[in-house]
Structures are given as structure tokens and as C-alpha cells.
Amino acid sequence: MQKKKLTATVKSQQKIAEGIYDLRLSTELAAEASVGQFICLYPKDKSTLLPRPISICEVDKDKETLRLVYRVAGKGTAEFSGLKEGETVEILGNLGNGFPLEKGAGKRVFIMGGGIGIPPMLELSKRLSAEKQIIVGYRDRDTFLKEELEQNGSVYVATEDGSVGSRGNVMDAIRENGLCADVIYACGPMPMLRAIKGYAQEKGIPAYISLEEHMACGVGACLGCVVKTKNIDSHSHVNNARICTDGPVFEAGEVDI
């Protein structure tokens, strides 16, 4: 499980929606990657030096490939979107804790993803053996990864413009479809995660949410990526945990978001 920085080779890259890219990398990191972990990619442009964290969307251990699905958000991701088959990229991995599969095994679960938080939910939906209700929120009819998610459970969609599924967000989709669960797994924008935390507390069920923060090292050394925690964290001895190392997945009740 040792973390490494190494050179990965691009197996393929495809644009799958407006501004959204699907990148497959050949790398030995695939052998030990677990669901909900992330890797960092380093841009080649030396004016952009910090590593870019991207969640692992799918793992193929046999073919030693990692799949990443990302949105072009700035300089680094714009550079990555130009990567062609056979080209290389420096990566750091595998990082973070990942989703606790055992918590949901055999239960009724919600697997919830919002926007660019959807990619890590694909591998989760494949690995988890449970009664899976997959609830995903998009801006519009550009519903990337939806067909693949449908192979792993019942999918409910919400779109901001109402063009597909429920109008609104993932919480609206839950209400409209009258869904219930014993355990929640989620990744997405902060307002969505806050709403999920509130919902889980109200229902008295655990919610495992994947958080984002700006990072510098990605390995737990710089203390850049912290989140406030309810209890004193055993590493920091203050109420702060490192998202890159102690997370990115936390039980919602443990973090102050």
C-alpha cells in the first residue's frame, strides 16, 4: 500500500460530455487502488506545480488501468484534456482512505453523486453488494456515466433544469421517488453534502461522504487540506483532520461542514 509517484501511460482519453473527460491510465497503482481513493496528477507546465487530486472512477486490476473522469476547471485539467494515447503523465497515489464497503454490505443503501462527484460512485456501485439505489444529480441532459451506473443498481436522476428525471437536486429525487436507506455514500458539491448530512441525522443513519479541499502535498505533511472535526483528531490533537490522508471519506457526523 506504499504511496508512489510514478509515470503513467495514457491508454485512452475521450470527451464524454461538455467539458468532461474520461481518461484511462496504465499504471501499477491499479493493483492496490481501493474504492473512494484518489490520485494526484502533475501538470507538465512548470508554472503549475501543485498536484491535482482526481478520484478513482474505475479500477481494472487485471489490465492495470485506472479510469478518471474529470471536468476541465482550470489550467491543470485543461492540460490533461490534451493528453493523447501513448503519452505519459506523472501521478501520485494511491491516496486517502476510501469508502468503507463493509458498512453498507447487504443493506439498503443510497449511492449519491452530484456533478463531478459522480465518478467515484461508479466503482463503489460495482464493488458494493447491497440493495443499491443510485441517485445522481446533473446540471442538464448531459448525464455522463448514467448508463454504466444503471448496470449496477436502480438509478434515479435529478437535473437542475429538469430535462431528465426530477427537477432539482438529489434530495428532490429521493423525495419524489419515496426512497429509503439504512446507509448513505455520497460525493458532490458542499451544499449537497450538507443536505445529506442533515437528512442522515434526521433519519438516524450513517452517511459516508467524500470531501474536497485545496491540497499542496496530498500525503498528509503540509496540513493544507483540513476539515473541522467533532472530536479531537488523533494525529493533529486539535479538531482538524487531513482530507488527503484521514479522508477524503468521513462519516458525516464526525465533520463540521
Partner: protein, 301 residues
């Protein structure tokens, strides 16, 4: 070939150290580099009690570098002595503990607690731009620097390195004040105060608004300041600021640094420190330099 350097009576196997706050206490980067190969590990700043640090975002990228406003989050000296020092003692590298505080008494409490722990040196951070009280206030006026340095020297068992701020008008004057107060060495530069604004959100990139800039973009400023400081004092100077590879490190040695610290470069390349150790050896071989000390301050006009 001799790569050893001696600073205030402490001999390092090579002049490459880590920069405080970028390497934790070595545990995290121990997965990437062999800590036994480093001249010294300089730890994250530690205070007398735990500090929670600043709100997030705490880091932001800027052209050729980064800004940070961590705010000196640390677990406090007691946990540090119990957990971090025993970890580092397993390795052959020297241990330099970076100390921060809000008042002179805070610094002295930490320095005294470290007295019998067997760490090799103390680096006193009077130059962090990211906390409101203490820290940088001691590092921007010669009389305040003189005062805190002489008080710490009265209580310190280990050699004291004063870490200077670049956010001053005259670095030579600060270096001389530290030397006059009895500092055993000085290190510089800490980060330069900077700011980044997100034009799309129209907000500050950092919750703290300002942050300390580090990374390769600050290197020319750091080299200049190390040169000026080394020319002003007789005590050893530890140079840092934007060092990413052996060439950068050698530039600092030539400017007058007896050792160098590698900071933000660890984030860009977790193997940086060990690569720099090897790169300095390769340079010495290439130019047939027997002793690394021949490089210190060897720049010619």
C-alpha cells in the same frame, strides 16, 4: 569526497535538510525517501500548546509557486516529544525542531521542554506571516529580534538557529542583530507575504486573505538575501527558498549558505530531497571538488 558540514558544532552528513512545515516530522515523506540519507529533518513548527491553525482554503497555487496560510497548526510540544521525536530518533539524520509561539514565554517553555530530549538543534520561527500574534512581530524589528534571541539563548540547551523573515527592509541588519544576541546560526528565507484573488468568484483565494509565498518563483530573492546575510555575519547561514533540484541548492551554497532546506519542492516531487543529495555529489564529481565546504560562499565577482 566529503559532503559533511558542521553547523554550531553539529555535523550533518550532507548539507541537505527539509524546510519546516513542508515535511511534517518526516513520517509522511518517509514513504518516499530514506530519511537516513538526509542531512537533517527540520520539523513543522511546534508551540507550547496545540494550535488549530487558520480556516481553509489554506493553500493556493500561484505562478511558479504557492501561497500558504496554514497558521502553524500543531499538536503542542508534549505530544510532539512523545510521538515525533522518538520516530525521528530511529534515523541517522539530525533532528532540528522548529519552534513557534505567541509570546517570548511561549517560546521559552518549548525550548526548555526540548532541553533533555536529545534533539540536535532548535530553529526559532520569528518569521511566520500567517499568525496574528507573536511570530513575525519578533522578526521584523532588530531590537525585538535581539531581545527574543538573547532570552531564548539563556534557556536553550541546544544550538539556536534564528529563522529570518524576508519581509524586512534590510536583511543584513536583521542577521547582525541575531548574531549579536548570540544566535548560533541563522536560516532564511521564510515565505514572502502574498495574495491571490479569484477573479471569477471575486473572493480571496485564501481564507486568511494573505499567505506566505514559496516555491521556485521566490528563489532569486532568496539567493540574494542569503548572500547579503552571509556577507554580514560570521555565524553559519542555512539557505532556502524555492530550491527544487541540486543546481538550485548549489547556488545557495555558493551564495554563502552552509546548508540548505528544501520546502515546497517536496510537494511537486516527493523524492526531491534525496535527489538533491545525489545531485550535489554528482556536481562535486564533475568539478572534482573534494570537500563540499569548498563551495560555501565560493561565488566570485
Amino acid at each position: 569526497m566529503n559532503t559533511k558540514v558542521t553547523i554550531a558544532g553539529v555535523t550533518l552528513q550532507n548539507p541537505v535538510m527539509t524546510a519546516s512545515g513542508t515535511f511534517g516530522s518526516g513520517m509522511e515523506y518517509g514513504e518516499f525517501v530514506d530519511l537516513n540519507k538526509l542531512g537533517a529533518v527540520v520539523t513543522k513548527g511546534v508551540a507550547n500548546v496545540p494550535w488549530a491553525g487558520n480556516p481553509t482554503p489554506r493553500v493556493a497555487e500561484v505562478y511558479g509557486g504557492m501561497l500558504n496560510a496554514i497558521g502553524l497548526q500543531n499538536p503542542g510540544i508534549d505530544v510532539f516529544i512523545e510521538r515525533d521525536i522518538p520516530f525521528l530518533k530511529q534515523y541517522q539524520t539530525k533532528i532540528i525542531v522548529n519552534v513557534c509561539g505567541k509570546t517570548v514565554a511561549d517560546y521559552i517553555e518549548v525550548v526548555e521542554k526540548l532541553g533533555d530530549t536529545g534533539v540536535d538543534m532548535l530553529e526559532i520561527n520569528v518569521s511566520c506571516p500567517n499568525v496574528k500574534e507573536g511570530a513575525i512581530a519578533f522578526g521584523q524589528k532588530t531590537d525585538a529580534l535581539f531581545d527574543i534571541t538573547s532570552q531564548i539563548k539563556k534557556h536553550a540547551v541546544q544550538p539556536v538557529i534564528m529563522k529570518l523573515s524576508p519581509n524586512v527592509t534590510d536583511i543584513s541588519e536583521m542577521a547582525r542583530a541575531a548574531e549579536a544576541a548570540g544566535a548560533d546560526a541563522i536560516s532564511l528565507i521564510n515565505t514572502l507575504t502574498g495574495m491571490k484573488i479569484d477573479i471569477h468568484k471575486r473572493t480571496f483565494a485564501l481564507a486568511n486573505k494573505t499567505g506566505g509565498m514559496s516555491g521556485p518563483a521566490i528563489k532569486p530573492i532568496a539567493v540574494r538575501m542569503v548572500y547579503q546575510a552571509a556577507s554580514a555575519v560570521k555565524i553559519p547561514v542555512i539557505g532556502m527558498g524555492g530550491i527544487c533540484n541540486a543546481e538550485d541548492a548549489i547556488e545557495f551554497l555558493l551564495a554563502g549558505a552552509s546548508a540548505v532546506s528544501v520546502g515546497a519542492a517536496n510537494f511537486f516531487n516527493p523524492y526531491a530531497t534525496e535527489e538533491i543529495v545525489r545531485g550535489i555529489e554528482a556536481y562535486m564529481e564533475q568539478y572534482k571538488i573534494e570537500d563540499v565546504k569548498e563551495l560555501i560562499g565560493a561565488v566570485q565577482s
